[in-house]
Amino acid sequence: MSKPKVATCSLAGCFGCHMSLLDIDERILELVDLIEFHKTPLTDIKRFTARCAVGLVEGGCANEENVEVLRTFRRHCDVLISLGDCATMGGIPALRNFVPLEDCLREAYLAGPSVYNPGGDVPNDIELPLLLDKVRPCHEVVKIDYFLPGCPPSADTIWAALKALLSGEPVELPYQLIKYD
């Protein structure tokens, strides 16, 4: 039997959750014995060519491309996991939800104290994905099966959850792994 496939992506995230995944250190050898990485920045595979058992999604949805990627993941993965606080709750990017979109763009490209933009252009190429009115956590866009909170979730948390999932056992995260103070 071939190994179950795992896909990952980072939407409106900082790749910190992916770094945390790599933090499992030498256990990554054990992991690749258990699974095969499919579409993920780690393999640089761009398109789904096979069904995946697990999809790990970092980051929430800030633009239409994020939505497209997330929906593609939903279609091709049996189990979808929101990895980290941005995917689960919107996180830092969602702070812009309290500010109108026009003001966000003005601050970012024209009025911000560190902006150098003598042309006064706001990026507006037709190919650029458009921003959503609000940054959304993943479960507001597609059905999400599991949530791993944390900023980022620790390597041990990710490892424990993946291992349990792949061995068909219930996910039991000890208190130490999901406390944050």
């Binding site: 239409e64 491309e65 939505v67 497209e68 929906r71 593609t72 939903r74 279609r75 979808l80 979109l101 026009e102 763009l105 507006n124 037709i126 190919e127 994905p129 458009l130 921003l131 959503l132 009115d133 609000k134 959304r136 479960h139 507001e140 866009v141 597609v142 059905k143």
Partner: protein
């Protein structure tokens, strides 16, 4: 600081001995004189009372009748509950808005009139209604709304809007209100004719312990809704350590759809004050406070006059009825538009001059209540029952109703029925019989006990009975006919709880907003079956983790209808294709960005059709 403001604050504070425990009254006084309690006023109040600035500010901000921004000389508060909404609230609101040239929440440029809304003002049997300053106006129509505005513009005096007075004591010069009592069925307990002094005389013939035993024998339970045995409460307070003990009458009738206390206070105030006096004798209290909801301020002068007459008659004050050493007096504390103050520990906080936030229990109020003193808090109707029990004996009271629920119950009936109003019925009466009495021809659902109660379904539940063991209620009965969308009702109730949460417990403050959001998704037809589970789980969590009754009851509109009317939810949800959320609409989400960019998305097509 402006001189007038300084003087106003000094006068108001001085009249109340600069006492910080009277903060609610002080802030009210300043609000009335100045039309707002601004930063300067807050500083001045803090100065005179010796309170911290933040303590004053928290009172100003907590109560909806107070504001930091200048309000009009006349404030119109439209009653916005589900009964009013079903009786034409929207049309009346539009009439006010167009006649005034402002929208809800604004003040006319000349500073004369502010238009606002408020949750239930206790006039559901004569909806749509509004409060104009302290004056209730009822049976509003679009014509009446326009006429009211025109009149106010000429004389600016809400009291002059009362052309025809209501029945009974509503015509009393000290009340002079258009409110109607609508008493449809007078029972043997609350509406017995006056027998002045008899109950107190009989109480004084017994020892306090015997009075408590009589109340226990009557099996009287609290009428506010929770149904705690009254005799037991008094006994705890009597046994509690402390020189200073107090009796509170909870007249903060805020549960939407409830208006029975208004009628008791209008017609049988003496029976309530007699009940407080008897409680004082039994418990050993010398002070009483009636907490009257701000919406009923129009009754204040009348009630004060009743108290004054009772003092003259020797029924209050020193050596009551000639009994040496039995001193007891009552003051009336006015609320200021906060529902949660009907919860007994919040009520005590409010009387202490603080925001009406619930206290942690234990200790219970009977042990440590108002300012740490043992305090008995009883409902208006409960205290009226006490008087009857002393007059006629515990056995005759207990003969009404059932074993576990003795006596009668006042019901405030409103909604889709021929005869809305007040009904005094024996405890244990079948709902079907109640509906027949009020002329509810085609009820499809009945809300028992207001938003925090439960919704029951026709006709399966109509043989259930009104009592503590089955359909327990503080008295609100709202009838909904077949043309009503019950999710409108649920949504209105959730609006209410979101507005009235004091904000102390996060599950209540945030959870109810989340419940309301998800309910809205379902109402728009964009919900999924999993949303129902989400509502149930979140509702259970809010109930389990909120510390006062408001939070513990707030998910009820949703959780009880999910049980009894699940089909109305199920009819509007369906699973999203491919596991995509139906509530997320990409087109809508990028519309703003498209407008800013000046072009349509070139990606959307592939996204939706991939």
């Amino acid at each position: 600081m402006c001189e007038a403001l300084g003087r106003a604050v000094r006068e108001v504070c001085g009249a109340l001995d600069n006492d910080p425990t009277r903060m609610v009254d002080i802030v009210r006084g300043v609000q009335q004189k100045m039309g707002c309690v601004n930063e300067e006023a807050i500083d001045a109040i803090a100065h005179w009372t010796g309170a911290q600035r933040v303590e004053v500010a928290s009172v100003v901000d907590f109560y909806s009748f107070f504001s930091r921004e200048k309000q009009g000389k006349v404030v119109i508060r439209l009653c916005d509950d589900i009964i009013d909404r079903f009786s034409g609230f929207a049309a009346v609101r539009e009439a006010f808005e167009s006649e005034l040239g402002i929208t809800l929440g604004q003040t006319t440029p000349d500073g004369l009139i502010t238009l606002d809304r408020t949750p239930c003002i206790g006039m559901c049997d004569q909806a749509p209604a509004a409060l104009i300053n302290d004056v209730p106006v009822t049976h509003l129509s679009t014509d009446k709304a326009r006429r009211i505005v025109r009149e106010l513009r000429t004389h600016g005096d809400p009291k002059k809007l009362v052309k025809r007075v209501g029945d009974g004591n509503n015509a009393h010069p000290l009340i002079h209100s258009m409110v109607e009592n609508n008493v449809r069925l007078e029972g043997p307990v609350i509406f017995t004719p006056e027998r002045r002094g008899e109950a107190i005389t009989k109480a004084l013939a017994m020892t306090p312990a015997e009075v408590i035993r009589a109340i226990k024998t009557s099996r009287l339970r609290g009428r506010g809704g929770a149904g705690f045995p009254v005799g037991m409460k008094w006994e705890f307070a009597r046994a509690a350590r402390g020189e200073r003990k107090l009796i509170f009458c909870n007249a903060d009738e805020g549960e939407p759809g409830t208006f029975k206390d208004r009628v008791i206070l209008t017609e049988r105030a003496d029976r309530v004050f007699a009940g407080m006096t008897i409680a004082a004798y039994a418990v050993g209290a010398r002070e009483g406070i009636m907490y009257l909801r701000g919406e009923y301020a129009y009754l204040l002068a009348f009630l004060e006059a009743v108290l004054e007459r009772r003092r003259k008659d020797g029924l209050l004050g020193h050596n009551i009825m000639g009994r040496h050493g039995f001193d007891f007096d009552v003051r009336i504390q006015l609320g200021a538009g906060s529902y949660v103050c009907g919860e007994e520990t919040s009520l005590l906080s409010s009387c202490e001059g603080r925001p009406g936030e619930p206290k942690t229990r234990p200790p219970f109020p009977v042990q440590k209540g108002y300012l740490g003193c043992p305090s008995v808090v009883n409902n208006v109707e409960t205290l009226a029952c006490v008087t009857k029990i002393l007059e006629e004996g515990a056995a005759s009271f207990a003969a009404y109703g059932t074993q576990a629920s003795s006596g009668t119950k006042l019901l405030s009936i409103s909604g889709d029925c021929m005869r809305p109003g007040i009904y005094e019925v024996p405890m244990g009466i079948a709902l079907r019989e109640v509906l027949d009495l009020c002329g509810a021809d085609e009820p499809s659902a009945v809300q028992i006990g207001g938003p925090s109660g439960r919704m029951v379904v026709a006709p399966d539940d109509f043989d259930r009975t009104i009592c503590f063991d089955d359909l327990a209620t503080g008295g609100a009965v709202m009838v909904f006919g077949p043309e009503r969308d019950l999710l409108d009702v649920v949504a209105a109730f959730m609006d209410f709880f979101v507005e009235e949460s004091c904000g102390y417990c996060t599950p209540c403050r945030v959870g109810n907003v989340l419940l309301r959001e998800r309910l809205e998704v379902i109402r728009q037809g964009r919900g999924e079956p999993s949303d129902l589970k989400y509502l149930e789980e979140l509702g259970a969590m809010i109930k389990a983790t909120s510390r006062c009754g408001l939070g513990q009851m707030s998910p009820n509109p949703i959780t009880t209808t999910l049980k009894s009317f699940r089909s109305i939810y199920e009819a509007r949800v369906s699973p999203g294709a491919h596991g995509f959320r139906r509530s997320f609409d990409l087109e809508e989400a990028v519309a703003q960005a498209e407008r800013i960019a000046g072009h349509e998305s070139v990606h959307r097509q592939e996204v939706t059709h991939e």
